[in-house]
């Protein structure tokens, strides 16, 4: 065994034992870094892909199967609904519906308050008289006829413009059969289903839309369709079927992109690579159609994409930005105050004579390990009584109290180790303890102060318990915010990952830039031995 381990590997110029040792080290390092790396990668990925593929697949184009369906004909042909769909004939897109919800006994007198923005609150009803054609800013025209028919037309052949319209708001003044007048509340039209276009192309009627629509009305251009199939059989179903049989029974990989499928009523369905599908029928679609909708599966290729969008979202809309500031507000004073207090105490413990010195210091050593849980309940009662709970100063003092034992311990170890001669000679020169401390000891112990500062900074920054107990919702720090997110937004990984990484960024920067002091502090802080 030992002979084998000592054998030389020629290329690497090392023994087998050394090679194995190195390999093991690499393995451990990888295991230790991979989870963090995964979080970093995840936080940079598009939120839609986070749930469907692991971060380890972030660099390869992944495929994802999804279900989709055309809108039901019944839904879009409903006569007096607010929803209608765009028809294209002779180069003009037309959207037609009833402005009065199909009440035939009323007549429109005038209308107004036309606006695209969903929050519009223009209550005008007499901007235009019935039948007047109103040009809209996007180049389209709207008319509301006396019988209540609303016609919205556009010659703009880019129907994207239609898709991005959230809705059209308007008010109508109308006459009732008895001659009295009334006006509608603000009504709004929504183009439904979003992005669906009904087109009369030559002899045939075509229903077109895109499977890559997202809820914001935009098409995700990065994706492409790989294949598609009917809706019944799962992707891997091991089923054979007769050629030319029912589309509904086909699998997701059965049809190539762009392939036309003939459905049982003779209409054809095609799904293109860009996600646009066309459902072409020789006759107009009617409510009596046998095939009411086409349900299908498709497999899409998702190329790798990274962005800072998640960070942007988290910082601006999820309150993480203000938590970040809060964390700084808590951390910095909570780092400085204990250092100042502890430095004086450490000096006294090292270089001044007073009764009880040893025993008080032993108490400090004992307090090093006292769990802070033991203090929380009475402290909160005191805080509530004095009125400093849920305030930053209360938080600073709490962290000062909990950090003080370690601070005193660390600093005393260091300050006590300064050469006796320096202190003695300063004393002989007539300097008081206060002068010696400020002029001599403080500058000399900067490394120890830095060590403790890093400790305390990391501890306060990363603390959750004290923040939960002593801070309110108003002054949420990052840790409690993330903990909250973990509970309430457990599936919104894009928020979690970026928030977590934001909270980790500052400690990591501090850690990597000041690692030397940190290590030194660790060695001094563990009860001797290092």
């Amino acid at each position: 065994m030992s002979g084998f381990l000592n054998a030389n590997i020629p290329v690497l110029n090392m023994t087998v034992g050394a090679f194995l040792a190195r390999a093991l080290l690499v393995l451990i390092v990888v295991i230790w870094t991979v989870p963090t790396f995964g979080l970093l990668v995840s936080s940079l990925r598009n939120k839609n892909v986070l749930l469907t593929s692991g971060w380890w697949e972030a660099l390869v184009t992944t495929q994802q199967s999804a279900r989709s369906a055309t809108p039901e004909i019944g839904d879009i042909l409903e006569d007096d609904s607010d929803f209608a769909f765009i028809q294209l004939a002779d180069g003009v897109y037309t959207f037609e519906t009833s402005a009065l919800r199909g009440s035939n006994d009323r007549t429109v007198i005038s209308y107004g308050g036309l606006d695209f923005s969903p929050n519009a609150d223009d209550e005008a009803v007499d901007d235009y008289s019935a039948g007047e054609t109103v040009p809209l800013p996007d180049g389209s025209n709207v008319t509301i006829a006396e019988d209540g028919t609303l016609t919205w037309t556009s010659t703009n052949d880019d129907f994207e413009a239609w898709r991005n319209v959230a809705g059209l708001r308007f008010n109508v003044l109308y006459a009732l059969p008895d001659g009295s007048e009334a006006e509608t509340d603000q009504r709004s039209l929504q183009i439904y289903p979003p992005g669906v276009v009904y087109e009369i192309r030559g002899e045939s009627h075509v229903l077109t839309s895109n499977v890559f629509y997202n809820e914001n009305g935009f098409v995700d251009n990065s994706r492409s369709v790989v294949s598609f199939g009917g809706s019944v059989l799962p992707e891997n179903a091991d089923v054979t079927y007769d050629e030319g049989s029912d589309f509904a029974r086909s699998r997701v990989q059965d049809y190539e992109v762009g392939e036309s499928v003939t459905l049982e009523d003779g209409s054809t369905f095609t799904l293109g690579e860009d996600g646009i599908y066309e459902w072409v029928s020789a006759d107009a679609f009617t409510l009596e159609d046998e095939v009411d909708e086409v349900r299908f599966n498709y497999r899409a290729a998702i190329p790798p994409s990274f962005s800072l969008a998640n960070y942007d979202e988290v910082l601006t809309s999820e309150g993480v930005g203000s938590s970040f500031i809060n964390t700084f507000t808590v951390t910095i004073p909570a780092t400085i105050i204990p250092i100042a207090i502890a430095a004086f105490a450490s000096y006294a413990f090292s270089w001044m004579q007073f009764p009880g010195r040893q025993i008080l210091f032993a108490v400090v050593v004992g307090l090093l390990v006292v769990p802070l849980q033991l203090s929380l309940i009475p402290l909160l009662r005191i805080y509530n009584f004095v009125g400093v709970s849920q305030t930053f100063p209360g938080m600073w003092l709490a962290h000062t109290g909990f950090g003080l034992p370690l601070a005193i311990y660390l600093l005393r170890n260091y300050i006590g180790g300064l050469p006796r001669e320096i202190i003695e000679s300063a004393k002989i020169d007539g300097a008081s303890h206060f002068m010696i401390f400020v002029r001599l000891v403080l500058p000399l112990s900067v490394p120890a102060l830095a060590s403790f500062a890093i400790f305390q900074f990391l501890w306060v920054w990363n603390d959750l318990l004290v923040a939960l107990v002593f801070l309110g919702k108003e002054q949420d720090v990052l840790t409690s915010q993330i903990r909250e997110l973990l509970g309430s937004r457990g599936d919104n990984w894009e928020i979690l990952t970026s928030a977590a990484f934001i909270s980790m960024s500052v400690p990591l920067i501090v850690f990597f830039s000041l690692q030397r002091y940190f290590v030194r502090g660790l060695l001094a802080g563990s009860v001797k031995g290092g």
Partner: protein
């Protein structure tokens, strides 16, 4: 940038400047003041007075300082507007409809308040609670919810820090007193004076608080504590052979160290020592005066009362007050309004009058109950219905489950029922009920078991740390490797939890572990619900964090092993593995122990990981999380204190070992 954020930043900067400024001012100021008060007389040269000098005790400026400080403190405490005995305005309560029926005086205007996403219809209402009138805002929609928690801020309890300060000061005074032999006597004098002042003030405050037996017991308890702490301070301080304070210089140099350590000691005492003692005390309490009240519902009565407490009393209003209070205390309905004294001015007077007329609730002994009998549902129901004849509030009343858990016999149940109808509600001293709850509660034992399981963390971290320390030694990129393994130390446990959620997630598309498991053809698992292994998966996270710490310490220790010893062993023909186990390990045993104990403490206190990952579900609870749950989610500080004490008990051996270790080193110093 947001104006609000800017303001906050400015505030933070200001606070830092102020905080640091106050400290500088303190240290510089006190030191300068000391030099000024006690100027150096060293110019007179070497004659030092002898300590056997029995001249009378000279009243020193230091004494004056102590007295002035104490006086200011007392004045501030009792007369500052921010401290009042009946200051309960900040309490948040929720009440049942019947609670309202029994205690509502005035239903104010309602207003809508936005809280998060929800809009709540809040009604400001004046209530009689515990015989006192207070104003609360509460949620109108939730009137019928059960479980009302009334938080009593008890002024007496909050005297603690001041008492403690007095104890410390008198102790220190005793120390700097040149006549040590009289120090203890001086201390007792202080206790006596302080106690007398306290009692006098207490006496004057009587009109505003319920002075009951328990408060007096507390008073004695405080005074006793002053004596004990003072004595401890005295006893802890070794008697110096000769300490001569006849000269100002000496007195000054004796005081100065205390100026240096004073703030530190004060903060340590306030934040660690005193709360620890108080926690022990609280563990015997019923939940610090949190009175849990659940009462049946009289919805129709809620809105009928619309009286302002300060409104002048009229016969009609008097009748309304009587009717409202009679719902809780039927005997009040028999009072003839004609007999009511006519010197009342406001509604408040009327309320106080009626409450004064309430017959004393019988004691448990007066009830015909076998207090020692075992608690059963049936016996409880019978007792309740019996009591409900006199106290309609109790009809249909059910004990909150967590209170019920604490019942050991029918005596407890009877006490509880009476406490519901008692017009005065006192902080209850329940002795071992909280301990009973803990030791008979499965969740507590699961938490204890899990904490023991978590002790794997120090072992695993040390092993991994040692492994890395050895492997990385002498490798060119060893520092980089160590730095990467060390990195998790900088990450918060909450952050680590998010990181590891990505490893443990049930979906193989997200969870790395399940992706690997499914890659090898196994079924994906929900790792965090597999009992008891889920604990193992959680504690791995802490191992991941702590290994870096172990590695740094051990690698430094390994470097300290003399190279000659290793050389000698190699020459003797030992192989590397033998050298490692029989030479290196024994040499660094001290460090290994340090690492083990340090990480043990961390593991015993672990909280964030459990809270963030599972919140103790599926038998993953640990003591620290249980404590948080009980004390700050369930607001039962008595039970929280018991659990906190259990953590402390677990830590004590390490603490003792640490102090021993420290004392050994000191003897070599």
């Amino acid at each position: 940038m947001d104006q609000e954020i800017l303001n906050q930043l400015l505030g933070a900067v200001l606070a830092i400047v102020l905080g640091v400024g106050v400290m500088v001012l303190y240290f510089w100021g006190t030191n300068t003041l000391l030099s000024w008060l006690l100027p150096d007389e060293s110019s007179e040269g070497g004659t030092r007075a002898n300590s056997t000098d029995e001249d009378g005790y000279a009243f020193s400026p230091a004494d004056a300082l102590v007295i002035v400080f104490g006086a200011v403190m007392l004045v501030a405490f009792y007369f500052m507007p921010w401290i009042q005995f009946d200051d309960r305005n900040d309490d948040v309560i929720s009440l049942t409809g019947s609670e309202l029926a029994s205690v509502v005086l005035e239903v104010g205007d309602s207003e809508n308040v936005t809280e998060g996403d929800a809009t709540i219809n809040v009604v400001e209402t004046r209530l009689i609670l515990d015989g006192e009138v207070s104003t609360y805002a509460f949620d109108r929609q939730r009137l019928n919810e059960v479980d009302a928690t009334i938080d009593r801020t008890d002024g007496v309890t909050s005297l603690w820090p001041f008492i403690a300060m007095a104890a410390i000061l008198s102790g220190i005074w005793g120390v700097i007193d040149r006549r040590r032999q009289r120090a203890v006597a001086m201390l007792h004098l202080h206790v006596g004076i302080f106690g007398a002042i306290y009692f006098l003030i207490f006496w004057f405050q009587m009109g505003r608080i319920d002075l009951n037996m328990f408060s007096i017991v507390q008073l004695g308890w405080y005074l006793g504590l002053i004596g004990v702490i003072g004595l401890c301070v005295q006893a802890a301080i070794p008697r110096p052979g000769i300490m001569d304070f006849t000269r100002a210089t000496d007195l000054r140099e004796a005081v100065r160290p205390w100026l240096f350590v004073g703030p530190a000691l004060l903060i340590l005492f306030l934040y660690l020592v005193y709360p620890a003692i108080q926690t022990v005390y609280l563990s015997f309490g019923d939940g610090d005066g949190n009175v849990e009240v659940t009462r049946p519902v009289y919805p129709e009565a809620t809105d009928e009362l619309a009286l302002t407490l300060t409104a002048p009393i009229t016969p009609e209003r008097l009748a309304v007050v009587q009717e409202a209070l009679a719902m809780s205390y039927p005997s009040l309905a028999d009072i003839d309004l004609a007999t009511v004294p006519d010197n009342m001015e406001t509604v408040r007077d009327a309320v106080e009058y009626f409450l004064g007329q309430v017959e004393q609730v019988p004691t448990v002994d007066a009830l015909n109950v076998d207090t020692a009998a075992a608690y059963t549902e049936e016996a409880y129901t019978a007792l309740r219905d019996q009591l409900a004849e006199d106290y309609p509030l109790l009809s249909g009343y059910n004990v909150p489950t967590d209170v019920e858990e604490g019942f050991t016999n029918m005596g407890d149940a009877a006490t509880h029922l009476l406490s519901v109808v008692d017009p005065t509600i006192d902080e209850e001293f329940v002795l071992f009920r909280n301990y009973n709850w803990a030791f008979s509660n499965d969740n507590f034992w699961i938490a204890v078991r899990n904490n023991i399981l978590w002790l794997l963390v120090p072992v695993l971290s040390t092993i991994f740390g040692l492994l890395v320390a050895v492997l990385a030694d002498g490798v060119r990129w060893g520092t980089v490797a160590k730095s990467l393994i060390f990195m998790p130390m900088a990450i918060s446990m909450v952050g680590a939890s998010v990181i590891w959620q990505f490893v443990y997630d049930q979906r193989p598309e997200i969870g790395l572990l399940n992706a690997m498991v499914t890659f090898f053809g196994f079924e994906a698992q929900n790792w965090l619900v597999i009992k008891p292994w889920n604990n193992f998966f959680l504690l791995i996270i802490l191992v991941w964090i702590q290994t870096g710490f172990a590695m740094v310490l051990l690698s430094a220790a390994l470097r300290g092993v003399p190279e000659e010893t290793l050389e000698a062993a190699r020459i003797d023909g030992a192989n590397e593995i033998q050298i490692f186990f029989s030479i290196m390990i024994p040499q660094i045993m001290g460090t290994i122990l340090v690492v083990l104990t340090t990480i043990t403490i961390v593991a015993l206190k672990v909280f964030d990981i459990v809270l963030a990952m599972t919140n103790g579900q599926n038998e993953t609870d640990v003591l620290a999380n249980l404590m948080y749950d009980q004390a700050f989610v369930g607001f039962h500080s008595g039970r929280g204190s018991v659990v906190a004490l259990m953590i402390m008990v677990a830590v004590v051996p390490v603490m003792i070992w640490n102090i021993r270790q420290f004392q050994q080193e000191e003897s070599f110093r």
